[in-house]
Symmetry: C2
Subunit: 258 residues, 2 copies
């Protein structure tokens, strides 16, 4: 079986595109090879030193091309092992109009979801938590932070803050925060979400097992009880390569032609 180097540098190999900086020429060349299917997801690329010798560039320049492709999600690098074409990610969709529990939502699609606890306990509230959760200064706040995974693939980081009066014992949560809240009659019926894009910092990238700087969705959610009281304030970080959010829009009623 021919290895990848033969495929890329064999007799019918395609020459590097011309024009612009060398690292961009090499980047385009590798990107095209992946999109053509000349090298497939999971395939290993030649080592950086090997590539550098073959295309007659310095290793620094090769690394620059490769790291751009890593940032774009085309390649992945594993320290001590090699550089590989990134696997096709299975994108997951989530509704932006129905307030659903992560666990219940995924179960409905037959996906196996796990959580790893990053933190849970009772704390003195920050000023921000005091305001958004409507706490008095003597109240405690319950913080629960989880890493969400589907199989072995991390999907999201979720950091929630709730009033201790709603969640007096954070340790008692099973897999689903919402079903735990439901038992005590505190399941939210309404929420406001604020969504933005941001590059992952080093710490969160490590947790999600992607490269720092990769695009991610940051979602802030404030959930309310039927009474109007705030139940939870959650900041979540979703991997950009595995998540789609879907929203249905209807004609606005605040138009000038009322």
């Amino acid at each position: 079986m021919a290895d990848v180097a033969d495929t890329l540098f064999g007799a019918d190999s395609i020459p590097l595109p011309q024009g612009g900086p060398l690292y961009l020429q090499l980047k385009r060349w590798i990107e095209d090879a992946v999109h053509r299917g000349a090298i497939k997801p999971g395939d290993a690329l030649p080592s950086e030193r090997d590539l550098a010798a073959r295309v007659e560039m310095s290793r620094v320049t090769v690394r620059k091309a490769v790291q751009h492709l890593v940032r774009d999600g085309i390649l992945v690098q594993r320290h001590g092992s090699g550089t590989y074409v990134a696997p096709q990610p299975n994108r997951v969709e989530q509704s932006l109009s129905q307030l659903t529990s992560f666990t219940e939502d995924m179960a409905r699609r037959g996906m196996v979801v796990r959580s790893v606890w990053l933190d849970r306990g009772l704390y003195a509230p920050s000023p921000e938590e005091t305001v958004t959760l409507g706490l008095s200064s003597s109240d405690n706040v319950a913080r629960v932070a989880r890493l969400r995974l589907s199989g072995d693939t991390p999907l999201a980081i979720e950091r929630a803050a709730l009033s201790a009066s709603v969640l007096p014992d954070p340790e008692a949560i099973g897999t689903s925060l919402y079903s735990h809240l439901e038992k005590s009659g505190h399941r939210p019926v309404r929420a406001i979400q604020r969504i933005r894009a941001a590059n992952l910092d080093d710490a969160d990238a490590k947790l999600l097992e992607v490269s720092p700087g990769v695009a991610s969705l940051h979602i802030e959610r404030t959930s309310y009880l039927a009474s109007g009281r705030v139940v939870e304030f959650t900041r979540s970080i979703y991997r950009g390569d595995t998540y789609d959010f879907v929203a249905e829009l209807r004609l606005g009623d605040s138009r000038s032609t009322r």
Copy 2:
């Protein structure tokens, strides 16, 4: 007036943090200086060569630290000019439940919005357009691509495709596609949006005047008439540092406890 170099390297300067790679030490150090307010938005940093000499690192290492900060939106670099602390972006909010026109939406907030046409005309449809817009093979497709700006700041790139029967003359659109459609009785009343995060490629980054690789929101929108017919299919790219999308969620009705 003391310049930035004096502020950073003066008598009461703060030493570089220890531990880990040099470029990350330098990155943390600059990041802290910005967050402390020791250097403010708009201020120029010392040149890369200057910085390298002062912290006793090679220029390559300094560049690595700086480019990480550029990617994170902390700094901006201008070729031939210098490196500056990034200005505080004014974030813009957009609703994810009301189907509003960009132009009308911004006007309601008193913001001055301009559009620059990137492309508009009639074309033979792509297979994807044929399917999503429900065209027959003889139909043409109208494509309109715009760069949206608030003042001189680019906000978003919008590429829309509509059936030529709905928009026979793309050149006739004024500033608002939706008000143009309204005149011909084709204003959509409902839309499905799909939102994801992605790193900007070089071309789109140039249009939006940010660095390649910066996080952005990619939105695909399919809009429908009251009759159920598809009016437009639009792909938009919003700058991650200037846009928040807001959605209101309600308790889902597809729960197991129906």
